[in-house]
């Protein structure tokens, strides 16, 4: 099997984005809850956030003229890969406690691994990232591992 991943790409494993600091507002939770069709009162009232609420902190807020043609911001954590067709893979989260209105959170996203595999219709590159969410006081909130697949 040919080696697709250069040493330069592999050297990126382990690097992280600057930690994001956010204050969770009740209104942010309510918007998320209504738009996803939640039924639980604690979510609709914005007391507590639904399990995937933190996904809303993953996309960088950039000026419109800095977005790509498809609308999304460049993902600076992931190096340029030799395979260009990117697909969202999976998301797995371990929860320590729910996110609540008023929380002050620190969110760090790290490049956990990049590896290649031979798929049925050609080579695939798997990119794993890990998001760690904790309170400013250092209390663990959740850890999410996501995968992206390039082919």
């Amino acid at each position: 099997m040919t080696e697709l991943l250069s040493l330069e790409i592999k050297a990126c494993i382990g690097r992280a984005n600057p930690t994001l600091h956010v204050e969770v507002t009740r209104r942010d939770i309510q918007k998320y809850a209504v738009s996803t069709g939640q039924r639980a009162k604690k979510y609709l009232d914005g007391d507590e956030a639904p399990p995937l609420f933190h996904f809303g902190y993953s996309l960088e807020i950039l000026p419109v003229d800095q977005l790509r043609k498809d609308g999304i911001p460049e993902d600076k954590l992931i190096p340029e890969l030799p395979l260009k067709r990117l697909m969202a893979g999976s998301s797995d989260t371990v929860y320590h406690r729910p996110i609540r209105a008023g929380d002050k959170l620190s969110i760090t996203r790290r490049l956990k691994d990049i590896y290649e595999k031979q798929g049925k219709s050609g080579p695939l590159i798997f990119v794993l990232t890990e998001v760690v969410v904790e309170t400013e006081a250092g209390e663990p909130v959740l850890n999410e591992t996501t995968s992206l697949i390039a082919r």
């Binding site: 918007k31 738009s35 996803t36 069709g37 399990p51 995937l52 996904f55 609308g71 929860y95």
Partner: protein, 135 residues
């Protein structure tokens, strides 16, 4: 009230249907700050990227299967872990059904593992998932 003892492997979790309209999808992408054009720009999604219609966000579908669990446990248990995978694309206007089944019971930890799915009208799973809850 849901209690650990009364739950059996093979039990079905209450299922629910979701049909996102363009307003809901707009609100969702605004709420999560997602400017990806395939989720709101029909001409771009179909002409530039070759999709048949506006594409539903994977994490929105992931949330729908998460709700199968959170609506099932209410305040009677807590969520330990939850995961989903993007298996197939789904489009605006499709009616998706979310459900799940109890897979395992761990009596020592009082934890229950469930598998979850989101299916389209053809019965194809677009988003499979799994969760562990603790009583």
């Amino acid at each position: 009230m849901l209690n650990y003892e009364s739950i059996n492997v093979g039990d079905l979790l209450p299922s629910r249907e979701h049909t996102a309209n363009i307003v809901q999808l707009f609100m969702y992408n605004a709420a999560i700050w997602n400017p990806h054009r395939i989720h709101f720009d029909h001409a771009y999604a179909t002409e530039e990227e070759g999709y048949q219609a506006i594409v539903l966000d994977g994490p929105l579908q992931g949330d729908w299967i998460g709700q199968v669990v959170t609506d099932w446990i209410g305040e009677d248990a807590s969520l330990v872990s939850f995961g989903y995978a993007n298996r197939r694309v789904a489009f605006l206007g499709e009616t998706m059904s979310a459900g799940g089944v109890v897979e395992e019971k761990d009596d020592d930890k009082k934890e229950i593992k469930v598998s979850l799915y989101l299916k389209n009208a053809e019965g194809e799973v677009t988003i499979p998932g799994h969760a562990v809850v603790r009583f």
